[in-house]
């Protein structure tokens, strides 16, 4: 960790210098930065060095039905610096057919279960994850239910329970 914590603008400039063109935006006072997928691990590792020591959340959004979306999946990394309370949202976009990003478990232990949950519910593979199993769905489940093409009701319900009708009871 550097002795003097950097300001957000300096961090964004440093990130742009290291990872090529990064797209930044601010909404309701929250700074977001889009990092290209091949450099995501490098960018996050650098951000951790700059003092973002707390990984609040790793989650994902499926933009299948989102108006004007360019990519299918957008990963969200919410970072906080416990020293300065500075927050930063890092976005990484990936696409079908094989959405894969590099796991950040080597950087933050917190990412372990969060990435397992994203794999479970969205089917995004985290390369280098030590234990990429399903987290909330049963291990034998085959779909990724938070994808937008997975219906709210019907599919996968009671898939491993026998259906007992009145005649057969």
């Amino acid at each position: 960790m550097p002795s003097m914590p950097l300001a957000v603008d300096d961090i964004l400039a440093g990130l742009a210098a290291r990872c090529g063109a990064v797209e930044t935006s601010v909404f309701r006072g929250q700074t977001r930065v889009v990092v290209p997928e091949p450099r995501s691990f490098e960018a996050l590792a650098w951000l951790k060095e700059q003092g973002f020591d707390l990984l609040i959340d790793v989650t994902c959004v499926d933009y299948l039905e989102y108006p004007g979306a360019k990519h299918r999946y957008g990963l969200v990394y919410l970072l906080v610096s416990t020293a300065t309370n500075c927050r930063l949202t890092v976005r990484v976009f990936v696409d079908d057919p094989d959405p894969t990003v590099k796991s950040v478990v080597p950087l933050w232990a917190a990412a372990n279960w969060l990435e397992r949950e994203v794999w479970d519910l969205f089917g995004i593979r985290f390369s280098g994850h030590p234990d990429l199993r399903r987290l909330v769905m049963p291990q034998e489940f085959t779909a990724h239910p938070l994808r937008k093409d997975y219906p709210l009701q019907g599919r996968g319900e009671r898939h491993n329970f026998p259906i007992i009708t009145r005649d057969h009871s």
Binding site: D57, T59, D131, M137
Partner: protein, 410 residues
């Protein structure tokens, strides 16, 4: 004590099987009275000593985040009640706080104070149960009952306030379902007067109780570095010396106006977590007392100009703006103006940082309603806390982390 810890889960099942033949595997849960909720631990035991633990979750998964994509912002609050069900009010406040961040709504001063008061009452009731459960699991039943009696008083306040004891669904976009009545204020004042006495009794019962101290001190130690790296927040992190409290660091609602302290400890064991929670209840009492005495007058809901909260009956029947606003809010194609944007907003819930990442797509439903539950990250820390301790410490550590499976699995 040093015990060889084989890599559970990462190594293959055959690796080192011969040398570990003497180890027992014990399934703790999913149905066990001391897990309190439906979660499972696979423990690897050497006699009575836990060599490794593998936490397993998902038994209570009910797809809350998927449901959140199909319910409107006001409907989904009923689902948030069922997340951390020992302090539902805190979840309500967190959810609608996040929605209002996305929509850019500025609350009325009265509403911020009311939400602060109920969130702090929820914190007290949550800490009473989680500390009570630690006491219960280590053999202190009276302590648990003292705490549960006071929880009942808080339930009674909530019932007087909004009609529901348990699943309150109290907040609304831009306001709340009910205003404080004089009776509610009276009941909170009585609680503020009586509760410190019970709290003193509870402290006298357990804080210096030799059995309890022996059972919890030095058990389940989480260092500061591990806490930050593992994503711990709330009392669990503060007991390990992380001085992070969103109420101070990122003041939301009325916390910026109120005087209170952030309670921290440095040992990071079960006893520290107990002490932090006990002290936080006293600070919460101070917050409630200050907020109640300084409760601003005025409306709870935002004005009809913002067109997010339903106008009162008086306004609907006597003003044209009220009629139009009420009509448009009831129409499926009018409703809220939701930006094509995404935002994250978090509150300091009793368990830790409870945040919602909401994506708006212009419709009344969230496109994605991600809940960031503190319990998941705390439960993931469990194996490193329990390694080397005995089987009877499992319940102490589990209780002090305050894992709520409904919030864990959503």
């Amino acid at each position: 004590m040093s015990i060889a810890t084989p890599e559970f889960g990462t190594a293959g099942p055959e690796a080192g099987a011969r040398s570990e033949d003497y180890l027992w595997t014990l399934n703790f849960g999913p149905q066990h009275p001391a897990t309190h909720t439906t979660l499972r631990l696979v423990l690897k035991l050497d006699g009575e000593r836990v060599v490794d633990a593998m936490p397993e979750m998902g038994y209570l998964h009910s797809g809350f985040e998927k449901i959140g994509e199909h319910l409107s912002f006001n409907q989904y609050v009923t689902v948030t009640d069922r997340m951390n069900y020992i302090s539902p009010m805190a979840n309500n406040v967190a959810w609608h706080g996040a929605v209002e961040t996305l929509l850019g709504i500025e609350l009325t001063p009265r509403c911020t104070y009311i939400r602060t008061i109920i969130a702090e009452l929820a914190r007290i009731s949550d800490h009473l149960l989680s500390n009570g459960a630690v006491g219960l699991d280590t053999g202190a039943f009276t302590f648990f009952l003292y705490g549960f009696y006071q929880r009942e008083v808080i339930y009674d306040i909530f019932e007087t306030l909004c009609g529901a004891r348990f699943t309150n669904s109290y907040t609304r976009v831009g306001g709340a379902s009910h205003d404080f009545t004089p009776l509610v204020i009276e009941k909170i004042r009585i609680f503020l007067k009586n509760f410190p006495k019970t709290l003193n009794d509870m402290e006298r019962l357990l804080t210096r109780n030799r059995i309890f101290v022996d059972r919890t001190k030095g058990v389940g130690v989480l260092t500061k570095e591990e806490a930050i790296n593992g994503g711990a927040t709330g009392p669990v992190a503060r007991a390990s010396g992380v001085t992070r409290d969103l109420r101070k660091d990122d003041p939301y609602l009325a916390y910026g106006d109120l005087d209170f302290q952030v309670c921290c400890a440095s040992a990071g064991d079960c006893y520290s977590r107990y002490l932090v929670r006990m002290q936080e209840m006293r600070e919460s009492l101070r917050i409630v007392a200050q907020a109640l005495e300084n409760l601003p007058a005025g409306p709870v809901d935002v004005g009809i100009g913002q067109r997010v909260a339903r106008p009162t009956k008086q306004q609907v029947y006597s003003t044209i703006e009220g009629t139009i606003s009420h009509f448009e809010l009831s129409m499926s194609n009018r409703g809220f103006e939701v930006p094509h944007e995404e935002s994250y907003a978090a509150t300091e819930a009793p368990n830790g940082e409870l945040g919602f990442y909401i994506v708006g797509d212009g419709s009344e439903n969230a496109y994605r309603a991600r809940c960031r539950p503190p319990s998941v990250l705390h439960f993931a820390l469990f194996p490193q806390l329990i390694r080397g301790h005995t089987l009877s410490d499992v319940v102490a550590v589990l209780g002090s982390l305050n894992i709520i499976a409904a919030e864990l699995d959503r």
